[in-house]
């Protein structure tokens, strides 16, 4: 009998430690899962495009909006802290789906593929694009610039 006691203890320790470790191995993914990931949520409704200060006046930035690129521009002479000084629109050219960019020299949105020009309201100024770029709404919350697909 006396010999059996340490063996029983060994099993208890093994089982206890195993259960604790397994519990930990279960809890770890669960807790990691519950902490929302850095990337913004699914869907295209609203996206944090940049932080205030990321853009200087007369600068543009391409960001991922859903699965498609979008562009955020701080107007020339605009105030980085004022939402209405930013414009955001889809960066998918309406001609052949190339990604457009902001031309600081022209102060226009420009598509490199076929030299299409858009104004800061997304309207076609010249070149082959048949339709304007869809505009998005910009809002600033705290330090972050949010872009929403709701019509601006």
């Amino acid at each position: 009998m006396d010999e059996k006691i340490p063996r029983r203890d060994a099993i208890n320790y093994l089982l206890g430690a195993g259960l604790v470790a397994l519990g930990g191995a279960t809890l770890y993914p669960v807790i990691r899962y519950m902490i929302p990931p850095k990337a913004s949520g699914s869907g295209t409704a609203s996206v944090s495009a940049a932080k205030v200060g990321d853009l200087k006046p007369n600068e543009g930035l391409i960001f991922k909006f859903g699965d498609a690129p979008a562009i955020l521009v701080l107007r020339p002479g605009g105030d980085p802290y004022t939402a209405s000084d930013y414009v955001a629109m889809t960066a998918v050219c309406t001609h052949l789906n190339c990604t457009v960019q902001y031309r600081t020299d022209l102060k226009e949105i420009w598509c490199a593929c076929h030299n299409g020009h858009f104004d800061l309201q997304g309207r076609v100024m010249s070149g082959p694009p048949p339709a304007p770029l869809d505009m998005y709404r910009v809002a600033i919350k705290g330090n972050e610039i949010f872009v929403t697909s709701e019509k601006a």
Binding site: I11, L14, L15, G66, P69, T99, H114, P128, P130, A131
Partner: protein, 431 residues
């Protein structure tokens, strides 16, 4: 009171002209008792743009519409002494319209943005020259396209000059072999009458007529409307370049530009055609069957080699994109890729779109530069997607750890079961 209302009405409908209700022209010409054909007035009253601006019959035709009816003698209104002029014949129509439409000050009062150069342009057009210099009345005058009474603005989809209807309007004469018989090009060849048939099959025709895409060109976008002339060889690329600007620029700077001039080739048309322009394909470039390059460039020449290089570049870019898409799609359906790869692949697709324009430089170096960049992107995306698919390896480490723990616990439980069973009397029932 009624007088005030009438004055107000006059003000609102425009200063000039007598309101239709009070016009003896309208009253008389609308009445079937007086006229068997009332279509002129009916057309005018059905929404003629002049009517909407308050321009009455007398503003074009002269005379005094305020008299005639009461007196019982309609001819009083059409007294030449009151400025009445009989309607012009075909030769006189352009000048008749131009009295107002070439008058900048007059037009400003109604439609400041409407151009006033129609007559000037018309004089430069083949139609205008034939009419005014050769006295040929078979050619188009203003009313043939715009109508005479019941003229609608071009933006109105019912107008014969609306973009949807322009091809049909031009075709009225230009597709009629009888009408066109006898007309020759500058080079002395008979003018074809199949432009309309060709146009409706073309990429432009399909867009404009089937998709009702206002951005697509119809006849007048290349040939001009009031100044309609065939674009000559020198101006073809200018016409096409209105929309296809980058292609025009690339072409004009390309090694093809000079020989094209020497050979008298009509720029874009040489490869793409004119009325029957089809959507361009990648097959047009290269040395395979159906490629255009080999029509001039024989094997063994530098041009042939260049075509081969450009074809290879475009083909490998397409292949790289297709391969990447395949893997990305696989990764997406497996749920290991969430759109990031597809987003990145967009850059490679941009390169493909761009190279299709840059190919008009006919410079293998420039083409290859873009295709290589695209291939690099596509390859990187494919590798990332493949990695994501293989990312299951990272998961396997975690899996290994948890399986080991599970085995330990299972082993412990098994030993424990043995242990408690050894101390249990199975025949002792509880309860």
């Amino acid at each position: 009171m009624r007088k005030i209302a009438a004055i107000l009405l006059t003000i609102f409908t425009g200063a000039a002209g007598v309101h239709a209700k009070d016009s003896s022209c309208i009253s008389c010409h609308r009445s079937p008792d007086w006229f068997s054909d009332t279509s002129v007035v009916v057309a005018y009253l059905s929404g003629d743009t002049h009517l909407n601006f308050g321009i009455g019959c007398e503003d074009c035709h002269g005379g005094d519409p305020r008299i005639g009816m009461a007196e019982g003698d309609p001819t009083l209104a059409m007294d030449p002494a009151k400025g009445y002029k009989p309607p012009p014949d075909r030769t006189g129509i352009p000048a008749f319209c131009a009295r107002c439409h070439s008058d900048i000050d007059f037009m400003k009062r109604y439609n400041p943005r409407l151009p006033t150069d129609q007559m000037a342009l018309y004089k430069t057009s083949v139609h205008g020259k034939q009419l005014l210099e050769s006295g040929d009345t078979k050619v188009a005058v203003c009313t043939d396209c715009h109508g005479a009474h019941g003229i609608l603005p071009a933006a109105d989809s019912r107008s014969k000059v609306n973009f949807r209807n322009v091809p049909r309007t031009c075709a009225t004469c230009h597709s009629d072999p009888v009408h066109m018989a006898g007309y020759k090009t500058e080079g002395g060849r008979a003018i074809p009458v199949d432009q309309y048939e060709e146009f409706v099959q073309s990429v432009h025709g399909k867009l404009a007529l089937e998709k009702e895409d206002q951005a697509a060109p119809v006849c007048n976008d290349c040939h001009g409307s009031h100044g309609a002339t065939p674009p000559n060889i020198a101006s073809v690329s200018a016409s096409c370049g209105e929309c296809h600007a980058s292609n025009r620029d690339f072409f004009n700077a390309s090694p093809h530009a000079a020989p094209w001039k020497e050979l008298g080739y009509a720029d874009c048309e040489q490869c793409h055609g004119s009325h029957l322009i089809m959507a361009a394909t990648d097959k047009m470039v290269g040395v395979d069957n159906g490629a255009l390059c080999i029509q001039c460039h024989d094997p063994g020449t530098g041009g042939y080699q260049a075509a081969l290089t450009m074809q290879a570049g475009i083909d490998s870019l397409r292949a790289a994109i297709a391969a990447a898409e395949e893997v990305v799609h696989q990764a997406e359906t497996k749920g290991v890729e969430g759109g990031e790869a597809r987003f990145d692949l967009g850059a490679a697709k941009d390169n493909l779109v761009r190279v299709r324009a840059v190919v008009h430089t006919f410079d293998p170096a420039q083409v290859t530069e873009i295709t290589s960049a695209g291939i690099k992107t596509a390859e990187a995306v494919r590798l990332t997607a493949e990695e994501s698919l293989g990312d299951l390896r990272v998961r396997q480490i975690g899996l290994g750890i948890s399986l080991i723990l599970i085995m330990i616990v299972a082993f412990g439980l098994w030993r424990k079961i043995k242990q408690v069973d050894s101390r249990t009397d199975f025949t002792a029932h509880g309860g």
